[in-house]
Assembly symmetry: C2
Homo-oligomer: 333 residues x 2
Amino acid sequence: MDFNQGEGQNNMNKKGSWLTYRPDIKILDCTIRDGSLMTNGYFDDEIVTGVYNACVEAGVDYMEVGYKGSKKIFSVDEYGAWKFSSEDAIRRIVGDNPGALKLSAMADAERCDYHTDILPKHESVLDLIRVATYIHQIPTALDMIKACHDKGYQTSLNLMAISVVQDSELNEALEILAQSEAEIIYLVDSYGSLYSEEIQELIRRYRSYAEPAGKIIGIHAHNNQQLAYANTVEALILGASYLDCTVGGLGRGAGNCPTELLLGFLKNPRYHLRPILKCLQEHIVPLRQKVTWGYDIPYMLTGQLNHHPREAIKFMNSDNSDDYLSFYDHIME
Amino acid sequence: MDFNQGEGQNNMNKKGSWLTYRPDIKILDCTIRDGSLMTNGYFDDEIVTGVYNACVEAGVDYMEVGYKGSKKIFSVDEYGAWKFSSEDAIRRIVGDNPGALKLSAMADAERCDYHTDILPKHESVLDLIRVATYIHQIPTALDMIKACHDKGYQTSLNLMAISVVQDSELNEALEILAQSEAEIIYLVDSYGSLYSEEIQELIRRYRSYAEPAGKIIGIHAHNNQQLAYANTVEALILGASYLDCTVGGLGRGAGNCPTELLLGFLKNPRYHLRPILKCLQEHIVPLRQKVTWGYDIPYMLTGQLNHHPREAIKFMNSDNSDDYLSFYDHIME
């Protein structure tokens, strides 16, 4: 019973199996960046250092330190260091980042003064700039990608909220992205609404546009339906190479694919689980006293309905966050 | 890009897609039965009634009320009603169970006095007896299946701990089970260690033995690696018909596939989510004050290592249950 049938004829099929060692795999830990959505960009240096050291020791490939947010849009009085990820702030944690771990920052389309705030690569410890964009912002995003690429960075384009984009529009977008300077194109399940079969179909589709142009695919999943890890593994098996994850699944709303689950899956001697567990125990679990994240029923419901999680997040921050029925009745109205 | 290729030639491929309505699907809610592993069989009648009413109103196909445990092995002083599931106890909750919901009980091989404690079907409100067995107990299990079948029940055989069974032994077992009176053969991921590709391969294998003998396949998953729901969907897509789940994922250790996630996935007008959410809110969430279940790092580790979860359960009940590192160091020794 060979379920890799057709492998020879169709390169859109599986890349290896769960026991295969795949050198193209890159783990990108975005604990601090995605987590900063929960803390308005504030993290004690001790925590950021803890995550950094864990990534170094665990053999993680990339650590995303935060956003490159515009100070014209976001006030430095209201937001912490990781909303802006200045060179000084990053170097306070990583020094000259001498090891193999690469560093990334995320720049949101239309919310980043990329011409001034993203330095030429030779002046920065950052290696990768990831541009996050909604489909209608793609022209801006492409300009950002080109600017960052020309400054010497590796770049990725993270197209968000695709579960509410029409097939034909998505295809058009992928065709344009395939012609861009972006090295990596990310499949992003912003609403945590995608099922494994949809992930499979989408990864195949992304590859069909990206690979002929020499680009690679990444996956960023959310846990609204307890599928962040499962969908990441699904994408990985079907050929995604860049895998986003966060320690303890820390992240907005239902959170992300947990780094510790992903490392456990990858049979790769480069990676080590223990430093991640240490970081989880010492730095991330204690955060639960201040912020709440992770799978819960309201997130499940917005995921099932393919809605943005904002209503669930608002509900979870209210006083009656365990009154699931009233939330259900509200969103089903 | 058709990834159902070969569908025509190979009936071991997918049954439908995520939007398909499949009349063969049966949802079996085992909240009280699996949950009774956490409570030694004790549940207030109010809770059992709450789950029963929810199953009726939600359109769930089967509710498993508990175990048929031997009173020679388990003391009635130490265990509650749902360790034994006497006819009287069940009727106290369900009366004559007049509706469409069917009822099941689980009988463990070598731990059930099935000749005396399982009544002839016409004297019982139970519809289905599920025999749980380790591979070395199969001769006993087959005798139980035959006895229950002859008494007039629908029967299933749930082969446990297969992730530590050799392929050749499993094939031999499946060949024998295919010749038994069992109507349903369950794939059981006792250790919560199986990945989607293994689930796929196993479902195909189970079907290859069961279907020529006219039998159907069920899936019972555990959430050690946050994959209970994902693996249940995987099994369903590949052709499993009987799907086990519990409200809120209640169950031993990391728990089970949550009924509310599964109902949300199935695009089937028979099923209704709201009664399950009501039950979850009113009866299952409050249980968290007494018992702890659900995904946590120690369960993840035993799942990743393909170990029985007993050590993780013991650790989670200890005073230092958040010292993940010491548990990691202990089981890696």
